[in-house]
Amino acid sequence: MNKKIVAKTGNEAMAEAMRQINPDVVAAYPITPATEVVQLFSKFVADGRVDTEFVAVESEHSALSACVGASAAGGRVMTSTASQGLALMHEILYIAAGLRLPIVICEVNRSLSGPINIHCDHSDTMGARDTGWLQIYSEDSQEAYDNTIQAMKIAEKAFLPAMVTCDAFIISHSMARLELIPDEEVQKFIGEHRRPYALLDVDNPITVGPLDLQDYFFEHKRQEIEAMKEVKASIIEVATEFEEKFGTHYGFFEEYRMDDADSVIIALGSTAGTTKVVVDNLREKGMKVGLLKIRVFRPLAYEEIRNALKNVKAVAVLDRATGMSSFGGPVFHEIRSCLYESEKKPFITNYIYGLGGKDIFPEDIENVYGELAGIIKEGKVEKLVNYIGLRE
């Protein structure tokens, strides 16, 4: 297949994926640093490069509300947002998932106010981790693009909404090499969108979003829970088909030089890229280090992650959000929880880093591996929750 090699930012890459998906409806609202996605898509609409009905709404709340209406009506639907925008959508995130509407959000990870800050951290999507949306994190522009295309297909297979994320500015505004799949191949890959129940099928009227009280609500939620479990098979199916057609392998997570690794860092997003460089350097020095990059955080592949860490001696979870639990970040909690059943529990420690866009450097990551080596040597974890690059 003739892939076109271009230079694109993360935002441009996601906008390109949206153009190629050519959804029926996009309802969106500008917000830094995701504004560009909406702008670029508006231009595609204005130039007739997509058939999409673009609804330039007056808030993110209305953006997702309109998406719910458009999707329930039977359309293929997408939007894009970040940070406060995702927070404003919060109420409707649960509704979109509860109504089993396969909407896709291209999300750019930005911190949440206050104080106000426009730069990268994962507080926004971590705050939405319990809403019933699939969450797929991207290391770079290429992944943001590939993930967006796959997310549309997964969402429509599973009747679950999905958000694909990339790091604010670090990815969203940085130019990188991007391999574009030809338009018609994307269309073939995602296929036609045909829904069994749609509001606009007026000859077969249905009621969507009824009052669901004590006698049925829990049963419906249980179905949603089951769907979240079953979607794991769809994620792998779609990834396999993607690899067969377009050559790139994807899974729930990526294991980087994990084979004989004693010390492993777990990270999401762009930091995984930086960590790979550090791993390569340390491997040259003979250190047995590796990286587990989480791609799909919702649903979390608990068993697979546990299995991947079964021979590891020490794990450091890098969290770009705090969770304000007084006990480390959200990814740390979940990884620690999935290791509870491990026969040989590795030592585990948590590093909160990069809030509000504070940079993380290769030396910081090297230090983490150094501390993991120390933990293995000493046989204990001194400090469970640590902070990187912070004035104390």
Partner: protein, 308 residues
Amino acid sequence: MPSLKQLSSKEDLFTSGHRACAGCGATVILRQTALIAGKDTVFVGATGCMEVVSTIFPYTAWKVPFLHNAFENAAATASGVEATYRAFKKRGDITKKINIIAFGGDGGTYDIGFQSLSGAMERRHNLLYICYNNEAYMNTGIQRSSATPYGAATTTSPAGTVIPGKQQFPKDLTEAIAAHDIPFAAQAAPHNWVDFTKKVEKALSIDGPTFINVLSPCPLGWRFPSNKTMKVSKLAAETCFWPLYEVENGVHKINFKPREKKPLVEWLKLQGRFSHLLNDKNKHIIEEAQNEVDRKWDRLQKMVEAKI
């Protein structure tokens, strides 16, 4: 316009068996709207009495497609339905005309849904929004909204010993929405089914955003006997507290002019929510309320005379 006989012989699309209170004005409004609009219609309802009483799973009173999303976003949600409708029409998946009707109570329309409604009107979606205005948050137990009349007692504007009910006049939402320069905005009331039918028919015949604000007497919240709904509705129009009028392409037209404007107190005294105003020490409140009704009615007539 269909005759009453014709309307009554049509299949009900908002059916009986819903769980609204006896004497509820809003169900009359929705049933008539569905009869007029017919089966090629999608309804989008805001959270509120009408959603709660009509869709308790696994039952539904709707024989037409119905979507409930949340409280403040019926207009935005309907915008999305309409966008998909346009997309499907464009590619030939749908050929027939489908009406899209959003509705909400005054809480979901005047207050929490105001921004969403304003946005949908400005974007010129082809949809009709109906507000069933029962002048308070009835579903949660009669709390004041920006549609609650001056002096009315609600559970959050109670008639206390110091503060005698709501201290503010209601927001003039019909004019606020008409100010979006939409093709058609109107006020109606359920007792006058002919006027209401004409307005719904007109609204649905227009390609663009339309809005009808319908007074919806609520026996529970307004505290009147459940067999007096239509009487209360009628008196609201006859006192000119709730003028039946429309604004079509920017021009105001009064649809019902009482031969003799009845004093506001005749409407107030039917309703328990105003009973504290009949006390001598609160007489001034009734006077102020009457003055406001007179001012608004004069203003409306002047606009009609000026053909604006």
